[in-house]
Amino acid sequence: MSAVVAPPRPSPSAPADAPAGARPRRRPGLPGLPPRPRRGGRVGRTPASLSWPLIAALLVFSAFPFAYLIGLALTESTLARPLGAFTGLDNLTEALSSTAFKGSLWRSTLFALTASAVQLVLGTALALLLAVRGRRLGWTGVVLLLPLVTPPVMVGVAWKLLLAPVGGALPSIAGSLGLGDPNPLGSPTGAMVTLIVIDTWQWTPFVTLLVYAALLGVPRDLLDAARIDGASSWQTVRHIVLPLIAGTLVAVALLRMIIAFKLFDIVYVVTSGGPGFATTLSSFDIYRTGLQQFQVGEAAAATIVFSLLVGVFVTVVSRLRRRVAGAAG
């Protein structure tokens, strides 16, 4: 599995061999030939034209949508005719007075936090198990990949059929164990827990893979030293391994939260936001408002509020991440 370990990232500002401030020396080359390039020197200057396709794509996919959303939020729009009469902040007021949307912001945050926390713990535990097992990944790699690549719609259908009150596997298993007639999708808490369980089924392997890779980078002699000093396995994990991979753990948690805020498909298939609004997460609520109820302006205003929430959230967690990374050295 050594192919899995990422190489150390070369520092971005690799120091040229000249000290800062010194003028670049000209090297005498052979007459008629360009001067020999120094390693990492100026011949390698990357032309900006390489970045243009990416920048153009960012303009189309990020800058344009935000500008357009602001336009939609400030005007009266329908799907047929966007950007009609100027309405000021009416759409924003409308969005913020919607119980479904206001609640969805809180539910999205709750979902993102809980799901990533659960997955971080389970994923790390599995990665430690894999490391303790002490063999190459082998077929475990395939097993870890499959949930990740399963189309979420199909994942949703599978779970929905599994939990169906009639004909589902869960009710019949519970029935044969004498546990009554469970219907998790029928209660608000049950439905939210179901979403978290499904998301955990799909995404825990991702955490496991990344944490496992970080574990492979833990220097062996540290572990040997701890063992010689008489540390138990748990003590070694707690005081040596976990601090060493703390940076990875926080980074993975952040990534998982960002992805969890995007969740749409599982909600759409499994709960449609219900019962009531119990599982109406923001992405789903915005889709419903804009493309099913055709309240385009309100949906645009809601989108802006939602992305601000995600933005603030991500900024706060990244700050935290930098602090942890700093503390871990």
Partner: protein, 271 residues
């Protein structure tokens, strides 16, 4: 590694976890082989194998068409993503500070939930006459996956030895030609991994597909299945068949490219 010697019990725990986690998929297989009455009886396994669900599903859903649409969209989307991400990742990996800055902007754009782009791009596609078309959807999905691709490819480009690029420049190759003739061939295992990951993301995508493809003829399989399933559909067997048919190609690809995918995911994420 944490273990001094390989141990048995972790394997047992891992096997147990795997078994529990495979229940949803195994239940799909079981459902696909049971008649409606057999499903309602509440048993977990087929009382007798009922194969009719398979042909019946093809009769109730135009599965071939939806699968084809999904593949066309996913392949086109991967092409869009890689065409834009390769020069982009070459820039972020090699342009020093400027590259780092662009990389930060790309990552920031990845944080925004995709629902942000739905309404604006809906209107943009329509004014370009690309709504309800496969290339239109592929373009949007391809752009959506760009940050993931840049992130993964950046790591692979950094592993290409600079000396080889420098030799290419000395021989008079420009940066674009170096990218095409030196970096792309040398980073090809990584590019394949990134391409596959983008393929899965595109093939699995629902939000843009369901927002932009109102006509049945251009819907992808996830859209068709999400509309086919529902509380009023009591054909559990057919839902299971359609799901399994949609899952099969991605599983096949994942198994075949297992090593590359694991290495790709990990190399991208652990930087």
């Amino acid at each position: 590694m944490i273990a001094t010697r390989p141990r048995r019990w972790p394997s047992a725990v891992l096997a147990l976890v795997t078994a529990v986690c495979s229940i949803p998929l195994l239940y799909l297989v079981s459902l696909s082989l049971r008649s409606r009455d057999d499903v309602l009886s509440g048993s977990l396994l087929p009382s007798r194998l009922f194969w009719d669900n398979w042909p019946d599903t093809f009769r109730s859903l135009d599965l071939g068409r939806f699968l084809l649409n999904s593949w066309v969209v996913a392949l086109l989307a991967v092409a869009v993503t890689l065409a834009l991400a390769l020069p982009g990742a070459y820039y972020t990996a090699r342009a020093g500070r400027a590259g780092e800055r662009l990389s930060a902007v790309v990552m920031a754009s990845y944080c925004a939930p995709p629902v942000v782009a739905v309404l604006p791009l809906f209107f943009l596609l329509r004014s370009a006459g690309l709504n309800n078309t496969l290339p239109g959807l592929a373009l949007v999905v391809g752009l959506a996956n760009l940050p993931v691709a840049v992130w993964l490819l950046d790591g692979f480009v950094r592993r290409v030895p600079r000396e080889i690029e420098e030799a290419a420049w000395l021989d008079g190759l420009g940066h674009w030609a170096t990218l095409r003739r030196i970096v792309v061939p040398l980073a090809s295992p990584g590019i394949v991994a990134a391409g596959l990951i983008c393929f899965f993301l595109s093939y699995n995508e629902l939000l843009f597909a369901i927002s932009f493809q109102q006509q049945t003829s251009v819907q992808t399989l996830p859209v068709a299945l999400s509309l086919f399933q529902g509380d009023r559909n009591i054909e559990f067997g057919q839902q299971a068949v359609a799901s399994l048919i949609g899952i099969a190609p991605v599983y096949l690809l994942a198994v075949l490219a297992q090593r590359r995918l694991v290495a790709g995911l990990v190399a991208g994420a652990v930087k």
